[in-house]
């Protein structure tokens, strides 16, 4: 497993598999989430993120393998109350008793965690403030929007001051300001709690996560510290700003013909150039631009993003799947099957 660190894992799974009738939602998943880290759990819709988090939360059982959270194996109904006191869970669409008021709901959860009524009240106040719902604390949850419910859900997940926090799409229903506030709140918990946060919004994960795991069709494609993944899965990229669309097209064609150039993409009023070797850019680019006589406005190296990693992994996976399908579809005896 890449990215294996010396830090002890607060969340781990071994060969975790879950089938729903004929569908394999999670397939031999081996997660390692280091203690105190924020782990971005990425994957397209239907990749198996929610199923994995539900297994980790002890809501559903694995068909095979096991999940260990805070040192204890989780299973529906048999996970100890002590473990559940140390874990906070936010569902993608958090549920509440609609007749309760926001503060009342948090006090109720605090009481479930064993806090005295006054302590639960104080915690509720603080959390409502932290998630930006202080002015709605006495409103009934029935009237809350999805974004407000998500904020309240995060507050609820934090009531027990959890050691491990499982967040399923924590910012999916929030507006940009709300998203920033909640991501800042999550980032502020780094070191205090181990957080696994599923998302398909790559920017959110890149903003807060130190570790990233990418899942597709239930299989973990990779996991590790974000900087390492960025270095490993992204190729050097450059941005060229060229005035005039004809000129841009001419340069694009010229670059595409170069062997050291992996990919040229039109990106707004410029070009994004992906290469194998930055040295080739330094040696070849000046002469190539001079030959094309293109009006160059800017040229800079682009910092690789999580999106680049994600797209490359998913692209490789698609390519692999297509190749496998072709191999399996090929008639026997053609020599194409490995």
């Amino acid at each position: 497993m890449d990215g294996q660190e010396a830090t002890p894992a607060a969340i781990e799974s071994h060969g975790l598999t879950r089938d729903f009738r004929r569908t394999r939602a999670v397939d031999d998943l081996n997660l390692q989430v280091p203690k105190g880290e924020i782990y971005g759990f990425l994957g397209p819709n239907g990749a198996g993120k929610t199923t994995t988090l539900k297994i980790l939360a002890g809501l559903i059982s694995p068909t095979a393998g096991k999940a260990i959270v805070a040192g204890e194996e989780v299973r529906p109904g048999t996970s100890s109350l002590d473990l559940r006191r140390r874990v906070g869970f936010l569902e993608e669409e958090p549920r509440f008793y609609p007749w309760m008021r926001a503060r009342e709901s948090l006090v109720f959860v605090g009481r479930l965690f064993g806090f005295e009524a006054r302590v639960a009240e104080v915690r509720a106040e603080g959390l409502l403030e932290a998630v930006g719902l202080a002015d709605r604390s006495d409103d009934k949850i029935r009237g809350f929007s999805r974004g407000m419910r998500q904020r309240l859900g995060i507050a609820q997940a934090l009531v027990g001051d959890p050691e491990v926090l499982l967040l399923d799409e924590p910012a999916s229903a929030l507006d940009p300001i709300g998203r920033k506030e909640i991501l800042d709140l999550i980032a502020s918990l780094r070191g205090q709690a181990t957080i696994i946060m599923s998302s398909h919004v790559l920017d959110d994960v890149q903003r807060v996560a130190g570790w990233v795991g990418v899942i597709r069709r239930g299989r973990l494609l990779t996991q590790g510290p974000l900087p390492r993944l960025l270095g490993r899965f992204t190729r050097p990229a450059y941005r060229l700003d060229i005035r005039g669309s004809d000129e841009r097209s001419r340069v694009s064609r010229a670059l595409a013909a170069e062997s050291w150039c992996v990919e040229v993409l039109e990106e707004g009023s410029g070009l994004r150039l992906v290469v194998e070797d930055p040295a080739a850019v330094e040696s070849r680019m000046p002469s190539l631009l001079a030959e094309s006589a293109a009006p160059l406005q800017g040229f800079r190296a682009v910092t690789p993003t999580l999106e680049d990693v994600f797209l490359q992994l998913i692209g490789d996976e698609d390519e692999y799947a297509t190749r496998r399908r072709a191999e399996l579809d090929a008639p026997r005896g053609t020599g194409r099957r490995p």
């Binding site: 539900k54 939360a57 002890g58 809501l59 559903i60 059982s61 529906p76 109904g77 048999t78 109350l81 002590d82 559940r84 006191r85 874990v87 869970f89 569902e91 669409e93 958090p94 549920r95 509440f96 008793y97 007749w99 309760m100 109720f108 959860v109 009481r111 479930l112 965690f113 064993g114 027990g160």
Partner: protein
């Protein structure tokens, strides 16, 4: 436990559920005796020429027995309707999952909710009986309060059994309607057990109801002394309630959410 208990009581008040069953039983407590009071008048007005119907003279025991009959039908149906989503509803709306990721034991959840709502069901029955007692007094004559208390207690064991059965079925099905549909089966099956074998009627779950009704004395029959059969039947009902609560817990224990 205290947090869940507090929440359950608050929920009863906040969701207006607190009023539903008492109102139903109060209506039954009024309509039962009133129906008996009005029955001769209604029949007299509806009588056609050539048909001579002679009705026995109804007394307070008949008035209260009429209320009890309504409890056995509409009262139990109301209990089923109110509680058919007891577990199924919370499972469907995601509240069970939300609760069980927190430090809440599934046994605590079942026992607390069953106990609070069981007391609520019984209290509703007693309110209905009190109203029926008062209405019987107003429309007919006083009736033995001790006998009413005894028969209500015996009925309570049966009502509690139907409630527990509904709760159990509600844990088996995702759809409250499925739980509700199957919950009515005992309302037809249990009274008929005595036809299969006499002692099943006397000592079985319905024995508490049949024996209890007999102690009131209605339709011209004298009030019977309370024998051991209804008491054994009531004890059996309570035992079955415990078994059904245990069954509900066992179902919930490993339930995936």
């Amino acid at each position: 436990m205290r947090a869940l208990l507090h929440k359950e009581l608050r929920e009863l008040i906040k969701t207006a559920r607190l009023a539903i069953l008492p109102v139903v039983f109060v209506i039954l407590g009024i309509t039962g005796p009133a129906l008996i009071r009005l029955l001769p008048i209604l029949l007299e007005n509806a009588q056609t020429e050539g048909i001579d119907m002679t009705l026995p003279e109804f007394g307070p025991a008949d008035a209260f027995a009429s209320y009890l009959e309504m409890v056995r039908q509409m009262g139990l149906l109301a209990v089923i309707l109110v509680f058919m989503g007891f577990v199924a509803g919370e499972r469907r709306n995601g509240m069970l999952a939300s609760l069980f990721v927190k430090p809440v034991s599934r046994l605590e959840y079942v026992v607390t909710r069953w106990a609070v709502n069981g007391v609520y069901v019984m209290a509703s029955l007693f309110v209905g009986s009190a109203v029926a007692l008062a209405y019987t007094f107003l429309l007919f004559a006083p009736i033995d309060v001790g006998a009413v208390a005894r028969v209500t207690l015996l009925y309570a064991s049966y009502v509690l059994l139907v409630f527990s059965w509904t709760v159990f079925l509600s844990s088996l099905f995702v759809h409250p309607a499925a739980a509700g549909g199957l919950s009515v089966i005992p309302l037809f099956v249990l009274p008929a057990l005595g036809l299969l074998w006499g002692p099943l009627g006397d000592y079985g779950p319905y024995g508490a109801v049949a024996g209890g009704t007999a102690t009131i004395g209605a339709a011209g029959s004298p009030a019977e002394a309370l024998g051991s059969e209804p008491l054994i039947s009531a004890a059996l009902n309570l035992g079955l309630c415990v078994a059904l609560v245990a069954g509900t817990y066992l179902r919930l224990r490993r339930m995936e959410l």
